[in-house]
């Protein structure tokens, strides 16, 4: 998410799956789209039928590759070199330099012309780090990354909240310190030859891809990128994604039909679970969770620190205060900062991997696990299970008795006697959960589309929905704390918790929850039409501002609508924000407000009506003319000119150079994965990310770069037939029989070296653990020539565990705890391992 958010303004897919059908070229990279998004993939097939070119860049030839026109094998973890080389190719290409389209788009819609401070030093100057690196603390002081001419921000401020001084610009893009030239210089060594050396992609093939992408970008043609967690799950994952955003900005594909970037998210509603977040550092609508620091002690302090003067986030107080009114109701008044003190404040990294270590170290005593399976799905899964075994209590809610609930009597370490159930003091509660068809609710899919699903059948026996559990838990907590005046007690008591219930089991009425999310006027409970009607004086309440208006004033939930058409389908579901389908769609028109071409028109300025019209809701103030110039001192969106499509950004432009928002650099830079068989050929003295959070613990050992004990690259991934950690698929007979056992995919070359035949048992080992599986010897995996020598890649699906019908070794026992510094997501897509023929002996510890 931060990858797209930092350059474009929102951390989500910029376009819709259906829009892919309008693409002229689709690049699927860091994704196995056909296998993991089969329904969305139908639009790729449609595009192909209309003549588009489909390119799949992936270490394995998968079911996606089978439908592609061009398959590019690539070494896992080298994606940024590939993307950077595309940037280098594009900006040095004659057509890009001479076609007026690119000049217009880049000049007006990006910060290409902004001149950056002369304090800034690039990685090319400092042998692999940017200026401001604090090696002992493993972090950057980003002060030197700011624009020239801007007020120097106070140390510790996250965004420049003082009114922005209009930065110096060079519209000719020649100034050596303008963002464009910095980009050009930064990627100058990302040549096709480097791609061949580092990625293992032959240079002719790389050039073919580059030519195709450039040829399909411009006024008349657009190219789309589709990516998934094979980009995200790296220590430089955010930067990989961000590099794609940079490239698409240069190519003028953002905001245009058939263009953009599709972030393919991993579950049916994982987008929803970041919108109304289960993430520790976000409040609904991507507001930042307040931290336990002096600046955030009061609401005013929070806004001083977080609220920018320009862009849509200027309205942050309306969003946050409406949220607080929704949560705390009458207990939220102007006098008490609308209940801001009731909000928990975070004191550190409480991301998933950190939680595991805190559990293992006895800091966290109890855990609720709902719809997740860390015993199989957690990095360093043995550590995860040890962590679970160290809790006082554990509540697992799931459809099946997943490994997280049964580890204490059934895990491999219990079966082989290493651990005895009687020594595990965790009290484990297993509560059966209802599945989607057994409850009402919505899914928010990968392109921000919210769709309602009806309850079709009652859940069996004691199975209940999440809503039921959380509602009644909250109700009982409120009863428990009814007379408690402590700060914790006040937090619980202040919560509004008055949802009506229905039925014999007292299910909370989800439409009531939906109305709260959608927003209403406190005085008369009238629904608000959208986030523009939210106020910062406590007169409105809204559970999630980006969903504001999803329930109409007449009480209809727009997620229930099902009228589709050939274009934006505005009457099918509701896409946040405000039902805008393609984000940043102001960019689908030129600076004068006319469509770039008839073929690629989407929205455009109608001078007679004085508004933006077209096929979609404008992601832009509806009546702001293209020639609008902001007066000095203007605030919020008024500070953006009529040619600024990226309304969430401070200056309304897409950022080629990112002065704020990414903790590991304003420009994407290639570093090797934390575990790699080769050194960093680009920056030999800085092989790995300088700021990636590491977990230096005895139970989380890392491999050295080019560690001879672990010479192979391993990548883990999913299959169509199973779902993530297997809780919803390995117990289902019809799915289990499709892929009944864990397996490992290896190339014939490696198999010959090691004497492995298809069907043989093999053991994959790392310093963290071992996993056994059956071997599948296939040419779909191939060794790549990296820096002159053959590097073997091993592929392992990570679905399998010891429970259910389809069992297998747990791939995540091999992985280590390590995070991307921006997203705190783990690195699972490339690390190193060794492999041998044979089985794990019972009782043998790794």
């Amino acid at each position: 998410m931060p990858g797209l958010g930092a350059r474009l303004g929102r951390g989500g897919a910029t376009t819709t799956l259906a829009s892919l059908a309008d693409s002229d070229c689709i690049v699927i990279m860091g994704s196995n789209m056909a296998e993991n998004h089969p329904v969305g993939f139908r639009f790729v097939v449609k595009a192909r039928q209309r003549g588009a070119t489909v390119i799949h860049v992936d270490p394995r030839f998968s079911r996606t590759s089978a439908l592609a026109d061009l398959y590019v094998p690539i070494r896992p973890g080298s994606d940024l070199v590939f993307l950077g080389a595309l940037v280098n190719y594009v900006v040095n290409h004659e057509r890009w330099q001479t076609d007026p389209f690119f000049r217009e788009y880049v000049l007006h819609y990006t910060n290409a012309s902004v001149i950056v401070s002369t304090d800034f030093r690039d990685t090319e100057d400092l042998a692999g780090v940017f200026s401001g690196y604090r090696a002992e603390q493993r972090r950057y002081d980003t002060a030197s990354w700011h624009y020239a001419g801007q007020l120097h921000p106070v140390e510790g401020e996250r965004w420049p909240c003082r009114p922005l001084v209009e930065p110096e610009r060079d519209p000719t893009l020649q100034h050596p310190n303008c963002a464009f030239q910095l980009v050009k210089r930064h990627f100058a060594r990302y040549t096709p030859e480097l791609v061949e050396e580092v990625c293992g992609v032959p240079r002719e093939l790389f050039l073919r891809v580059a030519e195709t992408i450039l040829a399909n970008s411009g006024r008349e043609r657009t190219t789309a990128f589709c990516y998934a967690v094979a980009w995200t799950q790296h220590t430089i994952g955010t930067q990989i994604i961000s590099c794609c955003a940079l490239l698409q900005l240069l190519l003028g594909n953002i905001g245009r039909p058939g263009g953009g970037i599709l972030a393919l998210r991993g579950h049916a509603t994982i987008q929803g679970s970041t919108d109304i977040p289960t993430l520790f550092d976000l409040l609904p609508g991507y507001l930042k969770m307040p931290r336990a620091v002096p600046e955030h002690a009061t609401l005013a302090g929070y806004f001083a620190s977080e609220r920018p003067a320009t862009g849509l986030w200027y309205d942050m107080p309306k969003f946050l205060i409406s949220l607080l009114k929704a949560w705390y109701g009458d207990a939220a008044t102007p006098e008490n900062d609308f209940g801001y003190t009731f909000l928990p404040k975070i004191g550190g990294d409480y991301s998933f991997q950190s939680i595991l270590t805190m559990m293992e170290d006895g800091i966290i005593k109890g855990l609720f696990v709902m719809g997740m399976n860390p015993a199989v799905g957690g990095q360093n899964a043995r550590l995860a299970r040890r962590a679970l075994a160290n809790l006082d209590w554990l509540v697992v809610r799931d459809v099946h008795e997943i490994e997280t609930a049964s580890f204490w009597y059934d895990a491999p370490e219990v079966r082989n006697g290493e651990v005895r159930p009687q020594d595990i003091r965790t009290e484990v509660f297993f509560l059966p959960a209802a599945i989607a068809a057994e409850k009402d609710g919505t899914f928010t899919n990968t392109h921000r589309l919210v769709q309602w699903h009806d309850k079709a059948i009652d859940p069996p026996a004691d199975a209940r929905s999440e809503a039921h559990f959380v509602y009644h838990l909250g109700r009982r907590l409120k009863e428990l704390y009814a007379d408690d005046d402590s700060p914790a007690g006040q937090q619980i008591r202040a919560l509004t918790w008055d949802y009506p219930t229905t039925g014999p089991h007292q299910e909370p009425d989800l439409m009531a929850v939906a109305r709260e999310i959608s927003g209403y006027r406190v005085a008369d409970a009238r629904p608000v039409a959208g986030f523009h009607e939210l106020a910062d004086d406590g007169s409105t309440a809204c559970g999630c501002w980006i969903y504001a208006g999803i329930v109409t004033p007449e009480g209809e939930h727009r997620a229930k609508r099902r009228r589709g058409d050939e274009r934006a389908s505005p009457d099918w579901g509701f896409a946040w924000p405000a039902n805008r389908r393609i984000l940043y769609n102001r960019a689908s028109a030129d600076p004068q407000g006319r469509p770039w071409s008839e073929r690629k028109k989407w929205i455009w300025w109608d001078p007679d009506q004085g508004r933006w019209v077209g096929y979609d809701v404008p992601d832009f103030p509806a009546t702001k003319p293209p020639d609008y110039q902001p007066p000095p001192g203007a605030k919020g969106l008024d500070a953006h000119p009529g040619t600024a499509p990226f309304i969430m950004m401070l200056d309304g432009r897409g950022w080629l150079f990112v002065p704020h928002g990414l903790v590991d650099g304003p420009l994407p830079t290639h570093y090797e994965p934390w575990e790699s068989p080769i050194p960093n050929l680009l920056y030999p003295t800085q092989p790995r990310s300088p700021v990636a959070p590491v977990f230096l613990r005895p139970d989380n050992p890392y491999h050295e770069i080019a560690d001879p004990r672990y010479p192979y690259v391993i990548t883990t991934y999913r299959l169509t037939e199973h779902h993530t950690a297997g809780g919803m698929s390995r117990w289902v007979p019809w799915l289990a029989e499709l892929q009944p056992a864990g397996f490992v995919e290896i190339s014939p070359e490696l198999a010959r070296e090691l004497g492995i035949a298809t069907g043989d048992w093999v053991v994959v080992e790392t310093a963290r653990g071992s996993a056994e599986a059956r071997a599948l010897v296939t040419e779909r995996v191939q060794p790549l020539t990296i820096a002159g020598r053959a590097v073997h890649v091993i592929g392992m699906p990570w679905h399998f565990g010891f429970g259910g019908l389809a069992t297998g070794g747990i791939a995540n026992e091999l992985a280590a705890l390590i995070e991307d510094p921006n997203s705190l997501i783990h690195e699972a897509k490339s690390f190193t391992c060794t492999i041998r023929k044979g089985r794990l002996r019972e009782g043998k510890a790794p």
């Binding site: 198999a751 492995i756 298809t758 069907g759 040419e779």
Partner: protein, 334 residues
């Protein structure tokens, strides 16, 4: 699928899965084979025996005169007794034996099995009546009571004549039944299996009757007739066995050369050929030797009939499981 997994061939280290789909789809069969086993083998043998016996009994009755009466008697009884287990074997072989009567819902002229059901019923009825008529003559119902008088009213010659068509049908239809499937070994030889089974039926019936009547020297002429029929039927059988072998060719004929079925087929050819030779030899030798050789030939002929049916049924399984055979049968000629 368990059977399919057991059939998985050995893979060499380093061999990618794509090598398993070069010649066929991982060696998996293209079609599904029949589920018939020993019950059906015995049904074929017994059916052939019954049909052949009825034919011999009819011919003996019509043209053989008094010397052939033992043949008529033994033939009619054998026809009836041999067909008795037939329906039971078929019913037991059904997946839902209690629904056996569903076979009687329709008659389908293009389905050898449907025709076979009705043919079996017709033959059973005819064999029963023939045997009953014979039993009356043999005094099983007494001589002069009402039952015996009643049954004697059954027209002896007409019954014999009427039995011939069902008899020939029973003896040969099973070959047509096999040929009207997609099993390559059977389909390729569809035109030959009926005649082959017919010849084998007649030879095995003649052989059995010869063995049954062996001790009575006054049946010398009838014995000779039986031996002659056996000889002619064996000639047909040997010829058709060779024709089947050649028509099947190297790929489809693989079950006839390999494994247990291959050995059975070789045995069938050897025993029938030997029986034929012995019969031929017997014609040249004095009567004492003729009799002994004849009996030996009959035993060999019976063995051959048994091995033939076993080869064909179990060879069919092998053939159905061999994708190369199906492709040889159905290859596009481009």
């Amino acid at each position: 699928m368990a059977e399919l997994r057991a059939r998985r061939y050995r893979r060499a280290p380093g061999e990618p899965v794509s090598t398993a789909t070069r010649e066929s789809y991982y060696g998996l069969p293209v079609i599904h084979g029949p589920h018939w086993h020993w019950p059906i083998v015995f049904y074929f043998i017994l059916g052939g025996l019954a049909g052949g016996s009825a034919v011999l009994a009819a011919a003996a009755r019509l043209l053989g005169g008094p010397p052939a009466r033992p043949v008529v008697r033994a033939g009619r009884y054998l026809a009836f007794l041999a067909v008795l287990p037939g329906p039971l074997l078929l019913i037991v072989d059904l997946g839902r034996p209690e629904r056996f009567h569903h076979m009687l819902r329709v008659i389908k002229l293009r389905s050898p099995m449907s025709l076979g059901v009705w043919g079996l019923i017709a033959f059973s009825l005819s064999a029963f009546l023939n045997a009953l008529r014979q039993a009356v003559d043999d005094g099983f119902f007494g001589r002069s009571n009402r039952l015996a008088r009643g049954f004697r009213k059954l027209p002896d010659r007409a019954l014999a004549i009427a039995s011939t068509v069902p008899a020939f049908f029973l003896a040969g239809y099973t070959g047509v039944l096999l040929g009207a499937t997609a099993v390559p070994l059977w389909a390729r030889n569809a035109l030959l299996l009926g005649p082959l089974f017919l010849c084998s039926a007649l030879s095995s019936a003649a052989a059995t009757l010869s063995l049954l009547l062996a001790r009575r020297s006054q049946n010398d002429r009838a014995e000779q007739a039986l031996a002659q029929v056996e000889f002619l039927a064996l000639t047909g059988e040997v010829t058709l066995l060779e024709a089947v072998r050649r028509k099947s060719g190297p790929v489809i004929g693989r079950p006839l050369r390999r494994g247990a079925e291959g050995r059975a087929f070789a045995g069938a050819r050897a025993t029938t050929a030997a029986a034929l030779v012995l019969h031929g030899l017997a014609l040249l030798l004095p009567r004492r030797w003729r009799q002994r050789l004849g009996l030996l030939a009959s035993i060999l002929a019976l063995a051959g009939a048994f091995l033939l049916r076993a080869t064909m049924v179990f060879g069919g399984h092998r053939s159905a499981d061999d994708p190369a055979a199906t492709f040889a049968l159905t290859r596009s000629d481009e």
